[in-house]
């Protein structure tokens, strides 16, 4: 018989479980385009935790295809047709609502992810330079006075007793050590001499040399020794905080039809842009401008709701943005991001370019021009440029790239402009990535 008691435990299980979680993260990254485009995330208020159903990560293997719903063998009372359990519907397939083991169902692992984490994952995926590495325009806000650091000079009432006595103790130990190496005598004897000499090094050396140590302390009890310069004072400082501000000026052409998809794409882009900028800046504001033949400032609700008919003068929106920057968001204190959503129609594109140039001269961080045409034929859309797009392209000598119906155009490295033509949800993530990448590398 052998019953052995052994020492536990290897850490292999935990280590390999971590690797599995890493793979889950990779799976989340793969699903990012869907997650980013998920309407329920964008429209939700408050709760920052979202749930993503991911199938438990499985090794591929050949396996039979199963048709539709699940089936299996069970045991117990009942006739064919009897209900043995149910899984409540939550609008989405695959969300589990059952006890493990007792109810049939699909093996889903639902992972809870913070929106913050998704943003981190996206940044990681983008390979963007670390956020801290970018210089952001900061504003110093004066908050008043505060007791700050420790300094070597000051007025008596500001003497910091603790810091001073610490210095005194340091002095004691360094003198004791110096005495010991100088004379080569026992530490306790040196201590007695130093105490007898009341902390004066030269005197202590003398006492030791003359062999006049009379004090007979049996243990070293350190005492502070002060020399000039050992006194420490508290400092009064001005209290300030570095504030970094960003504003997004969102502009939208509301002339003509504003389909749901168009609004949705605009909303999703803005939602994620705000989320990103919040990671970058302490204070992020967003202002909304709508325009047809004239432009006006509106609130968020009206921004997404308004649809008017009439002519289209894009420059009016850019003009309003320029004056908003002049009056409220000077670029020496604000990081300014401008986004314009349009269907490409413009009665006076030359004036639009004029106003756009003014924005660039003001050194705004980035300007995004989004042409949203959800209903267009992808092939037509690919070959058909709007007049405004062509104007931008020629004027700023932009280079165009296409990927699955998503069109991107950008110019020289330091030109803070990105033009995007997008048609569907799947374009949101790549468009965002391009915008952020451009922003990071412009300066």
């Amino acid at each position: 018989m052998s019953i052995i008691v052994t020492e536990p435990v290897t850490e292999r299980g935990r280590k390999d479980a971590r690797r599995h979680r890493e793979k889950q993260r990779e799976a989340i990254i793969d699903k990012l385009p869907e997650i980013i485009a998920d309407e329920s995330i964008i429209t939700r208020k408050g709760n920052k935790i979202i749930k993503i159903p991911i199938r438990s990560i499985d090794l591929p293997h050949f396996r039979p295809k199963t048709e539709g719903e699940s089936e299996g063998i069970g045991q117990g009372e009942g006739q064919p047709g009897d209900v043995i359990g149910h899984r409540p519907g939550q609008g989405k397939p695959g969300e589990p609502g059952q006890e493990p083991g007792q109810e049939p169902g699909v093996d889903y692992i639902e992972t809870e992810v913070d929106i913050e984490e998704i943003i981190e994952l996206m940044l990681e995926d983008l390979g963007l330079p670390k956020l801290e590495e970018k210089e952001v325009k900061e504003l110093i806000v004066e908050l008043g006075f505060k007791i700050g650091g420790i300094v070597r000079s000051g007025s008596w009432p500001l003497l910091d007793r603790r810091a001073t006595s610490q210095e005194g103790m340091k002095r004691f130990w360094s003198l004791l050590e110096a005495l010991r190496t100088e004379t080569g005598l026992d530490e306790l004897i040196c201590f007695n001499a130093l105490k007898q000499a009341e902390g004066l090094l030269e005197k202590a050396v003398e006492i030791l040399k003359q062999n006049q140590v009379t004090l007979k302390e049996s243990a070293i009890t350190p005492f502070p020794i002060f020399e000039a310069g050992d006194l420490r004072y508290r400092e009064i400082q001005q209290d300030t905080e570095n504030q970094s501000n960003a504003v997004i000026i969102a502009m939208m052409d509301v002339s003509g039809s504003m389909g749901d998809m168009k609004k949705y794409l605009a909303r999703a882009m803005l939602f994620w842009l705000v989320a990103f900028l919040r990671k970058l800046y302490k204070n992020v504001e967003i202002r909304f401008i709508i325009h047809h033949s004239t432009a006006k400032l509106v609130d968020e609700d009206n921004f997404f709701r308004t649809g008017e008919s009439g002519g289209t003068n894009c420059y009016t929106a850019y003009e309003l943005a320029n004056s908003l920057i002049d009056t409220e968001y000077p670029t020496n204190r604000w990081n300014v991001y401008v986004w314009h959503f349009s269907d490409g129609e413009d009665f006076s594109p030359d004036r639009t370019i004029e106003e756009l140039e003014k924005l660039i001269d003001k050194k705004v961080n980035m300007i995004g021009y989004g042409e949203v045409q959800p209903d267009a034929d992808p092939n037509l859309f690919k070959n058909n440029r709007s007049e405004l797009w062509e104007k931008f392209k020629n004027y700023f000598t932009l280079k165009e790239v296409h990927d699955n119906g998503l069109g991107l155009a950008e110019g020289e490295k330091d030109l803070p402009l990105l033009c995007i033509r997008l048609m569907e949800r799947e374009h949101i993530l790549p468009a965002l990535k391009a915008f952020l990448r451009k922003d990071r590398w412009t300066q």
């Binding site: 052998s2 019953i3 293997h61 063998i73 069970g74 149910h86 899984r87 493990p100 083991g101 007792q102």
Partner: protein, 500 residues
């Protein structure tokens, strides 16, 4: 665990061994290791006491641990390995009575290991335990040398096809040249038959046949594999034109050997658990009668026993159903309820009250434990009466309103249930896929064939698996399969593009 408890456990273990031997169970020296629940969870996930690192093991470990820590169910109460020197874990924090139960249960398993022909075969390959332990060290060195990701790629690919073995567990893979020689001499033997006849009497059909045989012979000289093989991993290890580096061959060989030694366990899991459960009940009763465990401890045992054997309305509880099976067999063979006379008895009362006092129950259950697999047990011993008595059924999920899914009993016909179980215990969800040609298109392409038996392959999984095989093969991989009643060839080529 306290020292006194361990001493008492040692005493009880001695007695359990005696009881087991008196009852006709085969025994041997078993190493019981008292350890933490974590260690047992690890053992469950890693299949061996020490095994190499892989994220699938980590995933399973995490799953078992979560269930254990959060629901209190899934108590890792036993883990025993089919080794020459069997080894089992006892959990230090388990109640004393539960550890006694585990020892009794393990003696049941160990008898099954020693007697069952499938498990005997499982031990015959190599010393997989030592191999696993050593592999874990070697793989670590490979990781240090070639990078964790590279090693993982090979393990992933190997494990994705590790269960593709010959469906006959006793089949011995032969060297390709031996197979070639055998097949060629068969063909030659056929030719010789014709040579007896004078050539002028030969009918045109005979000539045609001879020509065909000669053509086959011609092909056989270079054909690889000479006949289709189900052991995909073995074929890749031996023949991959990638070429595989020695360390990759090592990794794949370890994975293949582990799967081969574990396959017999899968084929007998039900009978093995049923048998161990059958005997732990008997042994625990005996210990109680002998006064070796207190009434209180016996009560704790009863609670555990009933939770282990509880009915699962959406699942197949091996412990419950196979325990019932052994009890059922014992009763039937004790009463002589088998054979033609019994089966053909038309009188319902006579049939159900049949008792010839044959007293063969014990003999029969030992026979079943020695020679049967789960599949054979279903075929022969899951009678209509047994399936009805066990209230087995097939359930199905139906979509209700608002995405709700309702699970209903779809079928309780014993015939249908038997067929489904038989199929499950034949393939274990592993479709039959064999290597047809390792020099397809004369370009070292790999041609696989899915032997269709009623189910198409899940296409997402199929493509991902082909990608893994492609990684190991290094060249184009083709798979002949059937998609919606059409013969199709799926390709996986260099550019990672899937085509039909």
């Amino acid at each position: 665990m306290k020292k006194q408890e361990i001493e008492r456990l040692v005493e009880i273990e001695k007695r359990i061994k005696e009881i087991a031997e008196e009852s006709g169970l085969l025994t041997t020296e078993i190493a019981f290791e008292v350890t933490t629940a974590q260690r047992v969870l690890e053992g469950m996930a890693y299949e061996f006491p020490v095994n190499f690192s892989h994220w699938t093991f980590g995933r399973d470990y995490e799953k078992y641990r979560t269930i254990y820590e959060h629901t209190g169910t899934g108590i890792p109460y036993e883990q025993v390995w089919n080794f020459d020197k069997p080894k089992a874990f006892l959990v230090e924090t388990n109640p004393f009575a539960l550890n006694v139960l585990v020892i009794a249960h393990v003696y049941g398993h160990v008898d099954f290991f020693l007697a069952n022909r499938y498990l005997k075969h499982g031990r015959s390959f190599s010393n997989v335990v030592e191999e696993a332990r050593n592999a874990s060290k070697r793989f670590k060195e490979y990781e240090a040398h070639y990078g964790q990701k590279e090693v993982e790629k090979v393990i992933d690919a190997g494990m994705s096809i590790q269960w593709h073995q010959n469906p006959d567990p006793f089949f011995e893979e032969q060297d390709e040249e031996v197979v070639r020689g055998r097949l060629m001499s068969l063909e030659r033997a056929k030719l010789e038959r014709f040579e007896d006849l004078k050539s002028k009497f030969k009918k045109p059909e005979t000539k045609e046949e001879v020509a065909q045989i000669e053509k086959r012979l011609e092909k056989l000289t270079t054909k690889t594999p000479p006949e289709p093989t189900y052991d995909i991993l073995n074929y890749i290890i031996k023949k991959s034109p990638k070429p595989l580096k020695p360390w990759m061959v090592d990794v794949l060989t370890v994975i293949r050997n582990q799967a081969r030694s574990l396959a017999p366990n899968r084929k007998t899991k039900g009978l093995n658990e049923g048998w161990a459960t059958y005997w732990h009940v008997k042994i625990m009763r005996r210990l109680f009668k002998d006064g070796l465990i207190t009434p209180e401890e016996h009560g704790i045992f009863n609670d555990f026993h009933s939770s282990i054997t509880q009915e699962n309305k959406a699942g197949f509880n091996w412990y419950r159903i196979y325990l019932a099976l052994f009890e059922n067999i014992k009763e039937r063979w004790d009463k002589g309820q088998f054979g033609r006379d019994y089966e053909e008895e038309k009188n319902v009362f006579k049939h159900s009250r049949w008792d010839t006092a044959a007293g063969l129950g014990n003999q029969k259950i030992f026979e079943v434990r020695s020679f049967y697999s789960d599949r054979m047990a279903v075929e022969e011993l899951f009678t209509d009466e047994f399936i009805r008595e066990q209230q087995l059924y097939i359930w199905m999920g139906m979509s209700g309103e608002n995405g709700e899914v309702i699970y209903i009993i779809a079928e309780d016909d014993p015939e249908v249930i038997r067929e489904i179980l038989k199929e499950q215990f034949t393939y274990y969800g592993v479709p039959l896929v064999r290597v047809e040609n390792g020099n397809h298109n004369s370009q070292n392409h790999l041609l696989l064939k899915h032997v269709w038996n009623g189910y198409d392959l899940d296409s997402k999984y199929m493509n991902a698996t082909l990608e893994k095989i492609h990684y190991l093969w290094g060249g184009k991989v083709f798979l002949e399969t059937r998609v919606e009643n059409k013969e199709t060839i799926v390709t996986f080529d260099y550019n990672n593009k899937k085509k039909k």
